[in-house]
């Protein structure tokens, strides 16, 4: 089961073909390199559109959330591969 984190993180992303693709992010003084964007979906919190991306660094699965109103990235949750 994924562990909720909900912390702001620094993210490096590429905007291409009308899509945003995170390349890396820093959480807890550690840099994670995104190997795969596994899923995308959108929600809204009030007026703020939130873009959610499932990403994997090969070892763990993360959910990054991008608030398109405040332009802040959050690490929503983390799950080690195979743990579920």
């Amino acid at each position: 089961m994924a562990t909720a984190i909900d912390e702001p993180v620094k993210v490096g992303a590429v905007f291409e073909h009308s899509q945003v693709k995170p390349s890396w992010f820093i959480w807890g003084h550690r840099r994670y390199v995104v190997q795969e964007v596994t899923q995308r979906w959108q929600t809204k919190e009030g007026q703020a559109p939130i873009l959610h991306l499932g990403v994997s660094d090969g070892a763990s699965c993360f959910e990054l959330a991008f608030n398109q109103q405040t332009l802040i990235w959050y690490l929503a949750s983390v799950e080690a591969h195979g743990s579920a």
Partner: protein, 412 residues
Amino acid sequence: MSERVIFHVDMNAFFASVEQRCNPSLRGKPIVVCGNPKKRTVVAACSYEAKAFGITNGMSIFEAKALCPHVLLVGGNPEKYVDIAQHIFAIFGELTPQVEIFSIDEAFLDMTGTCRLLGRDPDDAARLIKQRIRSAYGLTCSIGIGPNKLIAKVASNLQKPDGLVRVRQAEVHALMTRLPIEALCGVGPKLQKHLNDLGITTCEELGRTAEALLVGKFGLLGRSLKRMGQGLDDGPVAPLAADGQAKSMGHCYTLPRDTDNEEAIFGTLLRLCERVARRLRADGYQGRTISLTIRYADFSGVTHARSIPHPTDNGLRLYEVAREIFQRYCDPLSQRVRLVGVSASQLTQHQRQASFLEEEVRRGRIDRCVDRLADRFGEFTLVRASACAPLVPKSHGFLLKATHHHRSLVLG
């Protein structure tokens, strides 16, 4: 008249597939999507790998683990599934305007006009849909093609996962000859038993049974059953916009634990009423009949309704009526409560007439304020303190919820 071309698209193990797509390490493994396993929850969806162990939707986690001890539990995320489903339905909408959303993971498409206009073989159109869904979301679906919705839905069930089955009009009779009645949408275990008791086990037998016998046993349903047995269904593919008038709005909630704590029950009831009221206001409706549902620990339950003279979209008014119903029919409690539900029906468009009653005016102002806050900051940004009982016992007024996305705005 040429044959209709109806598609039934059924996403394969939708919730579980979305989660397996999200987390590569879950792929190929038995997983179930559920609520918080530390609280009372059931299997909302299971992967095909889990189904191979006999795990089914609706099963308790305890039962699922008994069948497959190494099954992986994944917390459900309804907002994710809804958003992905909406994008998939949008893919359908690009091919035909006649899309009927049957559930979060199923839809009917009337492709008659599209195939004729584009000179496209229905099978090719179905493969295009499958390829686009797989390309966008990495998900598979089963598509059934038939001359009507009934046959299309039967066809999609014949090959899972990632199936594509077409049944032409000329093939319907042969299909119904071998099809068991429980394969028909709408024939559940109870109806199946009643039909079995009449000696009817296949669709062909159902179609050959005298209408008078079926009507005598099942009423008007008997007539429909006979037609279903013959593979007949004139029902159109009805997009939501064609009949967008809501008939009722309601919410229910299974309590974390069976309880006879009235504060907990009424706190939940108030939250549900506020939620129903917000939906009513958002869509411009007011409700005249309020229904209360209570399900007890032994799964028995009661539903009672009361109509009020003036329709309402106010959560507190819905709650007052629901409390009156509770006091009349459920008080004192005969046993612990498992589920609480409330709904508003006999809906009318909001009349927007000014009220002279001070209390109504005040409530209307509060509702508008709460709605504006919710629109800006998210649902239940402002909640009634009594709706948080028993965490906030005997409180009055409102509590402000801080979301992590807006913490700086709310507390700063």
